[in-house]
């Protein structure tokens, strides 16, 4: 209950601000700049999402369904851009290629950083899909291409669509990358408007408009999946499909395409960071600040993950096991945080901190609350999915053997959900490390994380000084990313012998409420 209320706090505050503003709301909304802003943001979101869907589904098909050379290694490498925060990638591009700004740069960077959100669930879906449907289509006279487009893509569409939703929400709510690339998207304008004056009403009104857009996109995604949810009819373990043999030319072309994606999304940002790092070495690295920033990042991420999971575990168990109107309401409340971009939550909590919670304003507790609001859905989704994977029959057996409900939770439910809870924690840890806007606005006075240090240095174009923070951040973020992919693989395997209907973990969640929060 408390978790759900917590998640609703920022939204409530925005509505309050907007209602207080009265007549001025209309004036702010009808300004020509506002409409232009909506158009610009939607154009970016549309382009990035389309590109990511094409890239994500295409790459997933290449590594799972063909004889592409080295596909096992490539499959892992292609997921790694997840560890590169979008503003780090943006910094790498801006520092190396000055023309990569505005719409083109933002599209490039956001696509390169977010296609794994589509790629990962689609890989899992393609591996889990029953090849019998494809075989039937082929035997009824459809060619391989038509079969892929009409049968396979339809089968994985729920997974691709929820991945696409994550991309769209990311693109809409991303703050760091668009700011560094000087593209006036929603979040950048909100931040500027908040910084520029003491009158915070325009920022609140624009935030609420952003929330409305987010909700509309989420509803659109839900519509697109209607009637397509996959159910396996009949029993038995599904077989692996026979991979498509690539000819020499096709294999070369496919390899080139995959390497090009890796070059843009992974190799180039890392090379650029390395270059600036080496350049900066001669001027000396502020080792002390680097160490304290790293320590602060770790500390905040661990604390944030603990607080978030402390709310997420009970909510996840509750919604997975006890379906009722009350639990649905709690779950819906928890998802409210999902619809809120980081900068909106941060702003709302700034208002809240100044007006109501002065004692914790610009102190660690308020920042931790912000993290909990932002990343609760990720944690709840992971816990819920892993609890739902084990059969409630197992818990009934424990009851019938004399265990009280709380003992059942301790002895059966939680040990079984362990890997899923761990994956959820890794995910929350990772996203908190990469989080920028909320940390920037709410961090304790004087504290610096890797993200904020990087932000400060790039703000004054001190690329060489910023590079160490960026590298440290990527190195730090790789750990939970690998952990996450490992947990996902393990869960995927056990999911095959167990219940094939339930998506394994948070990273591949075709079904609706398991979606992830984007940083």
């Amino acid at each position: 209950m408390a978790g759900a209320l917590l998640a609703l706090l920022p939204l409530g505050y925005l509505v309050l601000r907007t209602v207080e503003a009265g007549d001025r709301v209309g004036a702010i909304l009808t300004r020509p700049g506002t409409l232009e802003l909506v158009g610009r943001s939607l154009a970016l979101v549309g382009t990035v999402t389309t590109l990511c869907l094409v890239l994500g589904v295409g790459l997933a098909a290449l590594v799972t369904r063909t004889t592409l050379p080295g596909r096992r290694v490539l499959a892992v490498l292609l997921a790694l851009p997840l560890a590169v925060p979008s503003y780090v990638a943006a910094f790498a591009w801006v520092a190396a290629v000055p023309w990569a700004r505005g719409f083109v740069g933002a599209t490039l960077v956001l696509t390169a950083c977010t296609y794994p959100y589509v790629y990962l669930p689609v890989v899992a879906a393609m591996r889990g899909v029953d090849p019998a449907q494809e075989e039937v289509a082929r035997s009824l006279g459809r060619g391989p291409w038509r079969t892929f487009l009409t049968v396979t893509v339809r089968q994985v569409w729920p997974a691709a669509a929820s991945g696409g939703l994550l991309v769209a929400l990311y693109a809409l709510s991303d703050f760091g990358a668009v700011s560094l690339l000087q593209f006036d998207a929603f979040t950048r304008v909100i931040h500027t408007s908040y910084r520029a004056s003491f009158d915070r009403t325009p920022a609140a009104v624009l935030s609420l408009l952003l929330v409305v857009l987010t909700v509309l996109i989420a509803l659109g995604e839900r519509r697109s999946r209607r009637g397509l949810e996959q159910t396996r009819v009949g029993s038995g373990v599904s077989r692996r499909s026979e991979p498509l043999r690539l000819g020499r030319m096709a294999a070369a072309a496919a390899t080139a395409a995959v390497l090009a994606v890796l070059a843009v999304a992974l190799a180039f940002p890392l090379a650029s960071l390395a270059y600036w790092f080496v350049t900066g070495l001669s001027a000396g690295v502020d080792v002390e600040r680097l160490v304290t920033s790293t320590a602060t990042t770790l500390l905040l991420a661990v604390l944030g993950a603990l607080v978030t999971m402390a709310f997420a575990v009970p909510i996840g168990v509750l919604v997975a096991r006890h379906r009722s109107r009350a639990t649905s309401a709690i779950e819906l409340g928890a998802w409210a945080g999902h619809a809120l971009p980081g900068i909106v939550v941060a702003l709302a909590l700034v208002f809240f901190g100044i007006r109501v919670a002065q004692p914790i304003y610009q102190r660690t507790p308020l920042l931790l609350i912000a993290y909990a609001v932002l990343f609760l859905p990720a944690g709840v989704g992971a816990v819920r999915a892993s609890v739902a994977m084990s059969s409630p029959r197992v818990e009934e057996v424990a009851r019938s053997l004399g265990s009280r409900p709380l003992d059942v939770l301790r002895r059966v439910t939680l040990p079984l959900a362990g890997p899923g809870v761990a994956a959820g924690t890794a995910l929350v840890l990772l996203t908190i490390m990469k989080e920028l806007p909320a940390t920037l606005l709410l961090r304790p006075t004087g504290a610096n994380t890797l993200a904020t240090s990087l932000w400060t240095e790039t703000g004054v174009a001190a690329y060489a000084a910023a590079a160490p923070y960026a590298l440290a951040l990527v190195a730090l973020a790789v750990v939970p990313t690998l952990w996450l992919m490992h947990a996902q693989g393990r869960l995927g395997e056990s999911g095959e012998s167990g219940d094939p209907c339930e998506p394994p973990t948070s990273l591949d969640q075709p079904s609706d409420p398991h979606r992830r929060r984007v940083p």
Binding site: R393, V394, E396, A398, S403
Partner: protein, 348 residues
């Protein structure tokens, strides 16, 4: 040795009556099978006894204690009713010994606990398998471990929900016999839910036949098979040959002659449906012998014998029969048929 009684138990899910005023008494120490087609409410009945479903009305007692009545609901963990679900549902994070020890009061390493676990593993023939993980066991072994886990705390009642449906045919008969032996050895009251009539008839001390939320008949396996209470039960517990006929006293006149009847009181004289089991129809390839002539339509070979589908020659309207026969018959053969043993009669 707990007796289980259900009185007037009713449970509706939306518009469907899963249980419709069910009365049932399961005698202490007996193995009772609840038999019915899927969706007849038998699993709901079992979950009511175990305490996972609260009925809308009615009372349930276990070993004399009321566990379910209006205003009373004893939690599942305090009923002494252990459940063996479909496919076993072993705890996947625990090894076999820890699974069996789950319901025991002491710690895993206690001598009493370890002794009881060893005893149970010996009972199910899995000595030395205590450190295996559930996924290293075959389906039949998992099922036996699930049974040992349920029996270890010596519950008054064990309920088994289609425990053998996940096993393949060869294994099923074997595990069935083993499970029956274990239950007998412990002397626990057991309720087993199944849709397989062969399983119910071969395993249980008594069989309750359910359909659409009601218990149609409860009796010994022989009673249920040979003297089914009505046509629905008769059709469900085995293949049935149905002949229209006219009842007169203790006999019925049919196209296969005048047949003696089981009992006479229930059905008034006049038009009835006479019912026979296929094994009561004898087929003879030498048609010159006495008997009624029939034409072989189809022969389904089953190993120990064959099911022979026949049309009675000259019958109007056409009358089809099924018989069991070991004779080497082929479709197209002309044969003689005769009936042995008494028929059953039901209102037409």
């Amino acid at each position: 040795m707990s007796t289980v009684t259900l009185e007037g138990v009713t449970k509706a899910f939306g518009a469907t009556n899963a249980l419709d005023d069910v009365d049932l008494t399961v005698a202490g120490g007996h193995l009772t099978a609840v038999l019915g087609p899927s969706g007849c409410g038998k699993t709901t009945l079992l979950r009511v006894v175990a305490g996972f479903v609260r009925p809308d009305a009615g009372t349930v007692t276990v070993g004399g204690a009321t566990v379910e009545a209006s205003g009373t609901h004893v939690a599942p963990e305090r009923r002494g009713v252990a459940i063996v679900p479909q496919e076993g549902a072993l705890f996947p994070h625990l090894d076999v010994a820890a699974n069996v020890a789950f319901g025991l009061p002491g710690r895993r390493r206690d001598r009493a606990t370890a002794g009881r676990v060893a005893e149970m593993l010996a009972l199910i023939g899995l000595e030395g398998h205590g450190d295996r993980r559930p996924d290293e066991l075959s389906g039949g072994q998992q099922q036996r471990v699930a049974l040992a886990r349920a029996l270890a705390p010596s519950p008054g009642v064990v309920v088994l929900d289609e425990p053998f449906s996940a096993l393949d045919a060869g294994l099923r008969a074997q595990v069935r016999t083993e499970v029956r032996g274990v239950l007998r050895a412990i002397g626990a009251t057991a309720v087993i839910v199944t849709h397989d009539q062969e399983e119910a008839l071969s395993m249980a001390d008594s069989v309750a036949v359910m359909d659409r939320g009601r218990v149609l008949m409860h009796g010994s396996p022989a009673e249920v098979y040979q003297r089914p209470a009505d046509l629905v039960v008769a059709r469900f517990v085995g293949d049935l040959v149905e002949l229209p006929g006219t009842k007169a006293g203790a006999t019925v006149e049919t196209a296969l002659g005048v047949l003696p009847l089981h009992g006479t009181a229930e059905v008034p004289d006049g038009p009835v449906l006479a019912a026979l089991r296929p094994e009561q129809i004898r087929v003879d390839g030498r048609i010159e012998r006495h008997g009624h002539r029939a034409h072989v339509d189809d022969v389904v070979f089953q190993g120990h014998d064959s099911i022979v589908r026949l049309t009675l020659t000259g019958s109007r309207p056409t009358l089809r029969l099924a018989a069991r026969s070991q004779a080497p018959l082929r479709p197209g053969d002309d044969v003689a048929v005769r009936v042995i043993g008494p028929a059953l009669a039901y209102p037409r």
